[in-house]
Symmetry: C2
Subunit: 296 residues, 2 copies
């Protein structure tokens, strides 16, 4: 089975590494070729375009940036579905819109191509170590057929339903993280302002009802002033926007997630903060706080 892999960013490179380690033939394409150098050295085969990659592969996997990138990769003249042939399978692993996942599934079907949506979590470390969580939507038989491919990249793989449900599961996950991130940042900002020792606050929360992964992992980084991305704020903002678009279509109000989206939007608008990790949100709070001065 020849796999075509589109997107050799931090996530894609780790995933390709593990597909090669599982003895798959992997064709690769990336908008910026030099970002594919490391996987080419490992044995991946460079393709000059998405169209060429599509023609030379049985299963085509994409993990790109934003929904507009997904649209281009699938639907443009040079795109996957314009150049695919019956019997192929496409798997979009970008965290993207459930509606777009449905559209890919429908248009794929018309050309005899099967499809899955399969966004991931677990970050660059999970991608490198093959321990990603993979949330799959789409036909059950195709999901089962693709299990060996997923197993090469992830350690927790679940199907949540038909096309789009993998993306929906990822969104439910991101809504939860919106809560833990705003909670941890506001807790640390409050602690700082009232003169609590923040390390003690992080210790305290880790043992009780306030315990959460975000505080356990990002709390200590914030303390060290380490704002490098585990997960980039601008990508999280993209996810929250997808959530709110879906929620709006369903007449569903999510006030907590809405506030998180507004905060990350303000943060990402500042060019100095746009490329920071999600824990960098504390800089927005600190700057608003500085502007107003304190009466502490």
């Amino acid at each position: 089975m020849k796999i075509g892999f589109i997107g050799t960013g931090i996530m894609g490179s780790g995933m390709i590494h593990n597909l090669l380690a599982a003895d798959y033939t992997v064709n690769v394409f990336n908008r910026t070729k030099k970002h594919a150098d490391s996987v080419i050295k490992q044995g991946a085969i460079w393709q000059e375009s998405v169209a060429e990659l599509t023609k030379n592969s049985d299963v085509i996997i994409s993990i790109v940036g934003f929904p507009k990138d997904v649209e281009e990769v699938y639907f443009s003249d040079e795109g996957i579905l314009t150049n695919s042939h019956a019997g192929q399978t496409v798997i979009d692993m970008t965290t993207s819109s459930p509606i777009l996942a449905n559209r890919i599934a429908l248009e794929a079907e018309t050309v005899g191509v099967t499809s899955l949506d399969a966004p991931v979590s677990g970050g660059d470390v999970g991608a490198q170590q093959g321990t990603l969580t993979i949330m799959v939507g789409g036909d059950k038989d195709i999901y089962q057929k693709m299990q060996p491919v997923f197993n090469a990249m992830g350690s927790s793989i679940n199907r949540f339903g038909e096309a789009g449900m993998g993306q929906h599961a990822k969104m439910a996950n991101q809504i939860m993280i919106a809560g833990t991130m705003t909670g941890m940042i506001e807790s640390l900002v409050y602690a700082d302002k009232v003169g609590l020792d923040k390390a003690s606050v992080i210790d305290m929360t880790s043992g009780g009802a306030a315990q959460n992964w975000s505080m356990d992992n990002y709390g200590p980084r914030v303390l060290k002033g380490d704002y490098q991305p585990g997960f980039m704020a601008k990508h999280f903002l993209k996810d929250l926007r997808i959530v709110l678009t879906v929620a709006n279509d369903l007449n569903l109000e999510l006030p907590g997630t809405t506030v998180a989206e507004q905060l990350y939007d303000k943060m990402v608008q500042n060019p100095e903060w746009a490329d920071l990790g999600t824990q960098g949100l504390i800089k927005l709070y600190e700057s608003q706080n500085d502007k107003k001065g304190t009466n502490h």
Copy 2:
């Protein structure tokens, strides 16, 4: 050492049980006497008033409902500080205002009484089992002197600074929980609306970056329709109001916590929901959702 204990609710009763088990003499008072019956059977000695209890005790501990109850217990004519004598120690373990904790400390000092603020977390189970987390503010020597008393009731005991800092630590904890609770409820509401299996969503979040105690513990209860309090929504609302009062005094904006306070305020205004646990917040979302109908 004779301990006077004011407040024999669910929390107080468990704590008194453990003080008796550690061989302390415990005088008790409660606004509603029958709620003290069980600890009296265990050996606690009933007192007819706060004033009488104060006169007969060396260390006076209070754990009552709201800041106004704390004020009454400490400052009324029949209250602790009006009837205390030099050399006594008072410990307010109610989750209450840091400003009020400071006022108690100052007024206690003028009558030669030492004081600590020492709110707890860990719920009724922690109170019964003597495994509470206790967050202490106040003088270091008094804190050390009271260690055996705290050890009888808790398993994780930390001092966060001078008077009021125990309450501030508890507030930092509650801000974190505001995030995990709104996140988990919105995640489950979204999951339900888009047709995801909620049990699968709870499983998924438990293994990754979205992991948190609230989802792990309250998620399964929500699935079973179990809204009985681990922690009562109206008490959580009280805590969030204290947070926002402090934040407002400090010119500190906490948009996530503000939204959580607004949501719990709406929930608690409904008499059917006022006595539910914090996970009952999902009923507010479901009712708003029902009213608007769906286009799902």
